[in-house]
């Protein structure tokens, strides 16, 4: 993922991507219905949905650019602000909070110098407080990408973040032996 490189630069689809978009659009009776998949594609490709990206999407789908922005602004999972490479989404709803989510968040905050968007200066991490991610039995927990990290302690967090910093492939979450695990896609 390129971070903010598309700001000020011309953004464009590749031929392959355009073909994919056509394929998606063909599934719907109206072309504008392809908006959400195309936005999702754009987020994967460009990292976040900057205004030029939204314009590109609108042009591709054939709607005014304001509509692309309206749709994008509705969904929180579509990022309207630059994010780091790893988005640390720490749950702070009841069960996790009771088990020390705030302590985890404070720990992460003290480790890095987050700006007002919740990004680290090197663009590696983004810290977000999120509501319940349905892993209440194993709180406190956080989600990074599509993986859950559960029963967090500051030491455990240090270990996980050190793994990310070292640039190694995503460390797979260690399954808790006796607990139910749910991964989003894998």
């Amino acid at each position: 993922m390129t971070d903010q490189a598309h700001n000020g630069e011309k953004v464009a689809w590749t031929e392959q991507e355009l073909a994919e978009i056509e394929e998606i659009a063909s599934r719907y009776p109206s072309r504008r219905s392809a908006m959400l998949p195309v936005l999702w594609m754009a987020q994967h490709k460009f990292g976040w949905l900057s205004l030029p990206v939204l314009e590109l999407v609108a042009e591709t789908v054939g709607v005014p650019p304001s509509e692309a922005r309206a749709v994008a602004s509705f969904y929180t999972m579509l990022k309207k602000k630059p994010t780091g490479r790893y988005v640390l989404q720490v749950c702070h709803t009841l069960s996790c909070a009771l088990n020390g989510a705030e302590e985890i968040i404070r720990h992460i905050e003290s480790k890095y110098d987050f700006d007002e968007n919740g990004n680290t200066p090197d663009g590696l991490f983004t810290l977000e407080r999120v509501e319940c991610l349905a892993s209440c039995g194993s709180g406190p927990m956080m989600q990074v990408g599509e993986h859950y990290y559960e029963r967090l302690t500051p030491e455990k967090v240090d270990e996980i973040l050190a793994g990310f910093e070292s640039g190694e492939p995503l460390p797979t979450p260690r399954p808790e032996a006796d607990e139910w695990q749910w991964n989003l896609q894998s």
């Binding site: 205004l51 939204l54 314009e55 005014p64 304001s66 509509e67 922005r69 309206a70 602004s73 509705f74």
Partner: protein, 537 residues
Amino acid sequence: MPTVKVNGIEVEVAPGTNMIEAARQAGVDIPHYCYHPHLPVAGNCRMCLVDVEAGGRGPDIACNMQARDGLAIRTDTDNVKRMRRSVMEFLLVNHPLDCPICDQAGECRLQDYYMEHGQHHSRLADEKITRTKRQDIGDLIILDADRCIACSRCVRFSDEVTKTGELRLFNRTDHTEIGVFPGTRLSHHYQGCLADICPVGALTNKDFRFQKRSWYLRAEPSVCDRCATGCNIDVDHDHGEVFRYRPRRNDAVNKSWMCDFGRLSYKRLAAEDRILTARGPEGAEGVDAVLAGLAAAVDAAARDHGDGSVGLVLGTRATNEANWAMLRALRAAVPGARVFLVEGNDPDAFDYTDDLLVHADKNPNTAGVRLIAEADGAVGDAEALRAALADGGLRLLLVLADDVLARLGEVRRPEALAFFGTWANATSEAARWVLPLAAAQEVEGSFTNFQGRVQRLQPAIPAAGDSRPGQVLAAGLARALGEDALPAGAAGVFHDLAANVPAFFGLSLAGLGAEGALVHREPPTEQVAPPDTRPAP
């Protein structure tokens, strides 16, 4: 025709009518924000919730309820009042207290319904959510997203009417705000309508901004004179000064819209190039003196060079009455005078045309003058005028309202020219006699738009300076020429017109109504006497 009951009142309405309109026909007003008769139904403000008595279930929104037989609603129950109060509370939760600086104050639906139905004390303990204020999003529009109640009328207007789709609702829940895509601006020429349809003060007219509090203004119905469409307008004025035009609903002509060119044309009423005083060869002398001088010149020309040396150019920008009275006055005094009609646009007309409202013909009364010319039978066109000027037989030419010299281009100028007009132009520059003609919003009379719809004008403000309505100037000229028997006053002139021009048979000025009346496409062969609605002399 389905029959529905509103608060126990039975009313028969056209199929497809929704219950807000049905209730209106029954004399019941259902409060609403997002519903607009000329926009698709969105149903998101919930203000029009009513109790369904029969033919449905539970409370429902009246705007999305189509009239059908057996349907009965009530708007006066305690439940409805409670619902309205709750809806108002939600709408006002994050609404800023901007009324003192908000231009909408006084004509704001939020204020009105709050006073009528609202919960008069706030239960909100938290900080209000604020949104972006004062966004300059168009040539005529300032957007204050903080005041928006997300009724989406403007979104639907830009999607459905102008089809440009610049405006959208962004974000969600209580952070929802209206806006344009960053970096873009409104591009259409109907921006003023956005301020009109906004039920609150989120979209305000930049031109009218802070000029006047709305409750000081009085509205008079009139017709826009900037193109052949003839949009119906309300002239908002205070103490003789016009502050804005607003479109007046006429489903047959302009629905609820008007273009920005027409909207801003109120400035022309007080423009610097208004002709305010009469001017003769000896300078400004007063209208009557100049008319007398002109009449003497007409008499002399007819006597010395024959009737054919006097000519009249009818004005496509003047009212039916002005044209007819001028024609009658000249024909009565100089039976052989030559009359012409020169079509075309003046240089001061705006250069924009679309297929929504703005007509290519920028003259408000071309259709009417054509009908008068047809009825007269002896009216020449631009070519005839050019020829008459070229051979020099036409010595004295009277021009009504239009910038004829500019329309004709390079021609030989007549020896003497008299101009009856509202604004200075090339013809008035060349004219020996200039007489001030009152603007359309200052006179009584009628225009015939491109559809052939005769629409009534009523004076909203007193005529500026010495200017007078065309029929008054014509009557003055007739008197100066020794013809006293011609009808005077707009109603009388129209009566005469309706009795003599076949397309107008049977019409009367007072009988035109708010929506105007169509002229006869196939003029009746038998003369139909117009109803006499003239005021007693």
